[in-house]
């Protein structure tokens, strides 16, 4: 078993959101989808804000000089920072829609509810107009365009002298916590270790897209197992990588995947991202190798000191008075 922590980096990020005359929406952002789930989650955030479906939105990929800035898909920060920007941009479009609907329905803009593709008056659902109609109307007048960034939350104040200083404190904006437990089986004659089961509990705040979030944990646990057992670059005496391809740099495969039980601990965190969400994708890499290492240490009686804990290293660590393998 092991615990993990992952930061939320509070940094600037921006997005444009627009809805065209046919009722379809676009999110224009410097954030990119490369397996992070942004393509699902950012659309969900924008759609919920304006009362449309995620499918009504597309994420527009373009040169980053055209889109508002984002730090990129690193460190599991897209939802925390760009999600905040998308919500802010979509909120401006929602304001425009409420104003248009208020004219149509002769109601207060503040009383307009945007949901299920329809703008209606709170408490009087029969008084309604479709958002597609409003979008068509806007296409002939003031266009539905929003821009957003949102203020990045400030880091906790440093009180006196701390061992981590201001830089370290910045990492404690809305931190994520995790705890993983693993069951492993060791073949003592060869050192081959298999991970049979992983239980992963994560506090990533509010889970916006559960299917996507579970996928992030499944994938990251597999990568964590790879880090623990098989993935490692090796170099020759000329500093050239000896395993620059996937034949010898051994990722885990589907056939190696254990059962992964996932629990999301959804508790409120001060300064969390949109709707109380924090990041997730990289966090399950943290505790997985540590939990495997701790489990192996129980089995062999001592820690295996080098990653990856290859079969040969595990076996060698069980041999009397022999140096560990180099490389």
């Amino acid at each position: 078993m092991a615990i993990g922590w992952w930061p939320s980096f509070s940094v600037p990020s921006g997005a444009y959101v627009k809805i065209d005359g046919d009722g379809s929406g676009q999110i224009i952002t410097g954030a990119q989808e490369c397996g992070t789930g942004a393509v699902m989650t950012l659309r969900q955030l924008a759609a919920d804000e304006v009362g449309l479906r995620a499918d009504d939105f597309e994420l527009v990929y373009q040169d980053t000089s055209v889109a508002p800035y984002d730090m990129g898909a690193t460190g599991s920060q897209t939802l925390f920072n760009n999600g905040r920007a998308v919500v802010a941009a979509a909120a401006q479009v929602a304001e425009q829609l409420r104003a248009l609907a208020a004219q149509h329905l002769e109601a207060n803009a503040a009383d307009i509810v945007l949901a299920d593709g329809v703008a209606s008056v709170a408490g009087t659902p029969s008084a309604s107009v479709t958002i597609a109609e409003l979008a068509a109307q806007a296409a002939g007048g003031e266009l539905l365009i929003g821009h957003g960034s949102g203020a990045p939350p400030a880091p906790p104040t440093t009180v006196g002298s701390t061992c981590v200083g201001d830089v370290g404190m910045a990492a404690w904006v809305a931190p994520q916590f995790s705890c993983h437990a693993v069951r492993v089986k060791l073949d003592r004659d060869t050192g081959v270790t298999r991970v049979l089961q992983v239980s992963a509990a994560h506090d990533s705040g509010t889970i916006i897209n559960r299917v996507g979030a579970e996928g992030q944990v499944q994938g990251a646990v597999l990568m964590g197992i790879g880090q623990a057992l098989t993935e490692g670059t090796t170099y020759d005496d000329q500093a050239r990588q000896r395993n620059p391809a996937l034949l010898e740099y051994k990722l885990q495969t589907c056939a190696d995947a254990p059962t992964v039980d996932i629990s999301f601990i959804e508790i409120a965190t001060p300064d969390a991202g949109p709707r109380g969400a924090k990041g997730l994708a990289e966090a399950p890499n943290v505790a997985t190798p540590a939990a495997i290492s701790n489990a192996l240490a129980q089995l062999v009686g001592h820690p295996v000191r080098r990653l990856p804990m290859t079969a040969e290293r595990v076996w060698l660590s069980m041999q009397p008075a022999e140096p560990e393998v180099a490389g």
């Binding site: 089986k185 060791l186 073949d187 004659d189 060869t190 081959v192 270790t193 298999r194 049979l196 057992l229 098989t230 090796t234 000896r242 395993n243 391809a245 996937l246 034949l247 010898e248 051994k250 885990q252 495969t253 589907c254 056939a255 190696d256 290859t310 079969a311 040969e312 076996w315 060698l316 393998v325 490389g327």
Partner: protein
């Protein structure tokens, strides 16, 4: 560059005699060329559409496996997975499902990699390869075929058309086990196959053991004699470690290979004896006894 599609063995042999090289599944030739291991030969003859080479024939004297029979065919074949289980253990471990669907036994044998998973099972099962050319046909023991890593004694105009396995003796069976760091897309770090025949008292009366990826070719362990299963397994393990001449590379050190090939040899003898005694251990043995898992 020329590329010719043969529909008969005779077409293929004619192309080979004109200097073409054969390609079946392409899982060694094409993949090797893409990775810069060796350029594609300038003249290729595709043999994968020669239907007669895709068949498995069960005869009174044993089984004849056509050169184009794929690893998937072998791992699903009712007779091969039971009476020649060691071979099916090996085929079922090759690469991935897609590799096993295109990779052929003939290609595997003629590629002559010392790490091939079907090599040591074929050796302990007493396999012979059938080589044909326009000049005639010859059969030779599979150990004679392999002369070094990636090298065989076949002439350039000879095509491997079949692998012959003798009928197993009563109360005999085989097993192949490999050390693997992961369960798919893996190349044997070391491996071992055993074929055993049991006497009436359950002891081993005859045993053959061969080793994978610990020498320039697949090698057979020499000097093994019968005895109790436990004694033969221990002797096979010790002899395998002693007779192996492994290299150190990024997959493993020579010391680790020498040790683990002994572990594989001992376990292969144990599993072959259980099968010979009538126990059904499903193919592949690696999953059934679970290297690094339940055992």
């Amino acid at each position: 560059m020329s590329f010719f599609i043969a529909h008969t063995v005779h077409d293929a042999l004619t192309a080979l005699s004109d200097g073409a090289r054969p390609v079946a599944g392409g899982s060694d030739l094409v993949v090797g060329a893409r990775h810069g291991k060796a350029p594609l030969p300038p003249h290729l003859v595709a043999i994968d559409r020669i239907a007669e080479l895709r068949e498995v024939h069960h005869t009174d004297s044993g089984v004849i496996i056509g050169a184009l029979v794929t690893h998937h065919d072998i791992e699903m074949h009712a007779l091969l997975t039971t009476s020649y289980a060691g071979l099916a253990d090996g085929s079922a471990l090759v690469g991935s499902p897609s590799t096993r669907n295109v990779g052929t036994l003939g290609g595997n044998v003629m590629n002559a990699s010392p790490a091939m998973d079907t090599g040591s099972p074929l050796l302990v099962l007493g396999a012979e390869v059938e080589l044909q050319s326009l000049r005639g046909t010859r059969r030779l023991g599979i150990a004679e075929l392999w002369t070094g890593p990636g090298r065989t004694c076949a002439e350039p105009d000879e095509l491997c058309v079949a692998v012959h396995l003798p009928a197993p003796a009563p109360n005999s069976n085989s097993a192949y086990l490999r050390l693997e760091y992961r369960r798919a897309m893996e190349i044997a770090v070391v491996g071992a196959a055993a074929a055993v025949t049991l006497a009436a008292d359950g002891s081993i009366s005859a045993v053959r053991v061969a080793l994978t990826a610990v020498a320039p070719t697949i090698i057979e362990v020499v000097g093994l004699v019968g005895g109790t299963v436990a004694d033969v397994a221990a002797a096979a393990a010790a002899a395998a470690s002693e007779q192996a001449t492994p290299i150190s590379d990024q997959r493993a050190s020579d010391r680790y290979r020498r040790h683990t090939v002994g572990v594989m040899a001992g376990r292969a003898v144990q599993a072959a004896a259980r099968r010979a005694g009538g126990e059904m251990i499903p193919v592949p043995l690696n999953r059934a006894v679970g290297i690094g898992a339940a055992s």
